[in-house]
C-alpha cells in the first residue's frame, strides 16, 4: 500500500509559483495556505497581495484576493474588514511595501487595532525591483543602491518593525519568526496560525514578521542565503513573540450584523 505523506494544501491554487530557487516567499505562501485550510477559513478569507515579488500572490492563494497599490495593504484591509467583519482578512507584504512606502498605513492600522492579520516578509532587500536597499537592509549590507554596504551616515539604520509596533496599545499579537530551517518553519507556522486565530477570536490586530531568504538579490547561493539569515539577520532581528494578549482588546469593533445588513 502506498501512503500519501505530502500533498498540496487546498489553501493554495494549482498555479505554479514563479519564485527564485531558495526564495522564502514560497514557503510562507504554503504556511498561510495550510493554516487557512486547517482552520477551515479558506472560503471566507480575503487576501491582499502586495506590490513586490509576491504581487502574483493573488493567483496563488485559493481565496478571494485583491491587489492594491504599493504599501497600501493595511488601508485596503481596513476597508474590507469594516464592511465584511464576518470574513478573515490578511495582508501579505514585503519590507519595502510595509516598512517604507506603507509605514504610515501599517502603524495606523495597528494603532486602531484593526481586526486584520499581516504577513510581513522581511528579506532585507527590494526583491522585485532588483535588489535596492530596503528599510530593513542591515548595516554594511550591499545592495544595488548601497554598493559599498549600508552606511548609517548616508542611509540611516534599519527598522525593527515588531519592536516598533510593540510600543502601541492596540496590537494583540506580534511575533518574529524565520523560514530558513525546518524547525523554524514549524515555529513560523505556529505563529501564523496564532495570528489568524487572534483575528478569528476577535482579539485585535495581529502581525507576523517572517525573516526570509532572497538569494537572488543578495547575490548568494540558496545555501548561503540560509546562512545569512542565521548569522546576520537573526542577531539583529531577534526571533520571538513581541506582544500577546489574553482576552480582547477594546479597539475598533465593527458590528457584524448591522454593517452586513446594509451592504
Amino acid at each position: 500500500m502506498e501512503k500519501k505523506v505530502f500533498e498540496r494544501t487546498k489553501g493554495l491554487t494549482e498555479i505554479l509559483m514563479r519564485y527564485c530557487p531558495g526564495c522564502g516567499h514560497g514557503v510562507v505562501h504554503r504556511l498561510v495556505g495550510e493554516v487557512m485550510e486547517e482552520l477551515g477559513i479558506t472560503n471566507r478569507t480575503i487576501g491582499i497581495a502586495p506590490v513586490g515579488c509576491s504581487v502574483f500572490a493573488d493567483e496563488y492563494f485559493n481565496c478571494d484576493m485583491i491587489q492594491p497599490a504599493h504599501g497600501r495593504g493595511p488601508a485596503v484591509a481596513t476597508g474590507i474588514k469594516r464592511v465584511r467583519p464576518d470574513c478573515i482578512v490578511f495582508s501579505y507584504q514585503g519590507d519595502g511595501d510595509l516598512a517604507s512606502i506603507g509605514m504610515a498605513e501599517t502603524i495606523h492600522a495597528a494603532a486602531r487595532g484593526e481586526r486584520i492579520t499581516i504577513i510581513f516578509v522581511n528579506n532585507a532587500i527590494y526583491g522585485m525591483t532588483g535588489g535596492q536597499m530596503a528599510p530593513t537592509t542591515l548595516l554594511g549590507m550591499k545592495s544595488t543602491t548601497t554598493p559599498f554596504g549600508r552606511d548609517p551616515r548616508v542611509a540611516g539604520y534599519p527598522i525593527k518593525v515588531c519592536e516598533l509596533l510593540a510600543t502601541l496599545e492596540a496590537p494583540a499579537y506580534l511575533a518574529r519568526v524565520s523560514v530558513h530551517k525546518p524547525a523554524n518553519v514549524l515555529k513560523a507556522k505556529k505563529a501564523i496560525k496564532k495570528a489568524f486565530q487572534v483575528q478569528m477570536n476577535d482579539q485585535g490586530f495581529s502581525l507576523v514578521e517572517i525573516l526570509s531568504q532572497c538569494p537572488t538579490d543578495w547575490f548568494v547561493t540558496p545555501l548561503q542565503g540560509i546562512d545569512f539569515v542565521e548569522k546576520m539577520m537573526i542577531p539583529f532581528f531577534p526571533l520571538g513573540e513581541y506582544k500577546t494578549i489574553e482576552g480582547k482588546k477594546e479597539t475598533v469593533k465593527p458590528e457584524p450584523k448591522k454593517v452586513l445588513e446594509t451592504v
Binding site: D58, E59, D64, I66, Q67, P68, R72, T78, G79, R84
Partner: protein, 353 residues
Amino acid sequence: MDEKLLMKGNEALAEGAVRAGCRFFSGYPITPQNEVPEYLSWRLPEVGGTFIQAESEVAAINMLYGASACGARVMTSSSGPGISLKQEGISYISGANLPIFYANVMRGGPGLGNIAPSQGDYFQATRGGGHGDYRVIVYAPNSVSEMGNFPKRCYDLAEKYRIATMVLTDGLLGQMMEPIEFDFEPVDPAKLPEKDWALGNAEGRERRVIRSYDLRPGYLEKMTLKLAEKYKEIEEKEVKFEAVQVEDAEILLVAYGTSSRISKSALMLGRKEGIKIGLLRPITLWPFPSKIISDLSERIKKILTVEMSLGQLVEDVKLAVEGKAKVYLHGRPSGGIPTGEEVLEVIKKIMKS
C-alpha cells in the same frame, strides 16, 4: 421626499450620499470640506454605516478601494491637496473597475494655495487625474439642492458602469446655505442588486480576484481597450447640461458650478440692456457636452467661457467648437471670484470687437 430643508452645501452633499445608500466613508480633514466628514461621523453610525478618519488621504482612498471591492456604497471627500494624494488610489480603482463616489470641494491652488473657492482642479478631474488611461464621471452642481441630489446620480452611474464618479464643487457651494428638496426616495443598500464581482464569502462559488494589473504582453492593452468601450458608451449616453436662453443668443457663455451662477446674473443684467446672451452650463464635465456646444457654435459666433481658473474649461470648449466660432476666456484663478457686472463688461467688449 416632499420636505424642504435648509442646509449647508457640504451637509447636503453628505446627507444626499447617505440617502443614496452610502454606508462607508473614510477621509482626512481639510478646509473647505470639513462639514462632510463631521456630518458623516454621526450620521453614518445612525444607519449602521462606517465612518473612519484616516491617517491620510492616501489611506482614505485605499480604504475605499477595499470597501468598494466588497460591494459597499462608499464615499470620500477632500479639497485639491487631498485629492492630489487620492489620485494614486483613484487610478487603481479605475483600473480595477470599482464603483466609488467622491467629492472635491475646490480651494485655491497650486500648492497649499488658500481656502477661497476656486475651480483650478478642472483638468485634474476631467483628465482622470492619476497615472494611466482612465476617466472619471464628473458632476458639477451649482446649488445646494444639486449638491444633495447628485450623489444619487453618481452612485447609480458608478454601479451601472463600474466606474469612479465624483462631484466637483467649490468652497462657496460647500459653505453656503440654501433650501433643498431631495428628489429621490432613500436607497436601502440591502435591496440593491447583488454584485457578482464583489469579494466576500466564496462558499459555493469560484474565488474572485480584483486587480488593476496584467503583466502578460498585450493583455493590459486589451483590458484598457475594454475601459475605452465603457467610456465611449458613457460619452454617448450620460451627458448632462443646462441651456439658458440660447435660442436667440448672439453670444454664448459657457460656465459650470459657481461661475455658472455668476454667468447667469451677467446674462440677466445684459438681457435687461438688450444684449442677447445665452448660457450653456455643463452639468457633467466628463462626459463633456461637446455636441451641443458644437451645434450652437454653428449659429452663435461668439463664445465666452467664464471660469475660476486660468483657462481650463476653455480648452474643452475649443475642442468642441473646432474653430467654428471665436472662443474667449474670462478666468480668475486662485480664489478670484468674478461678479456679474464684471462678466457683463467683458461681454460688452467682445460684442464691440
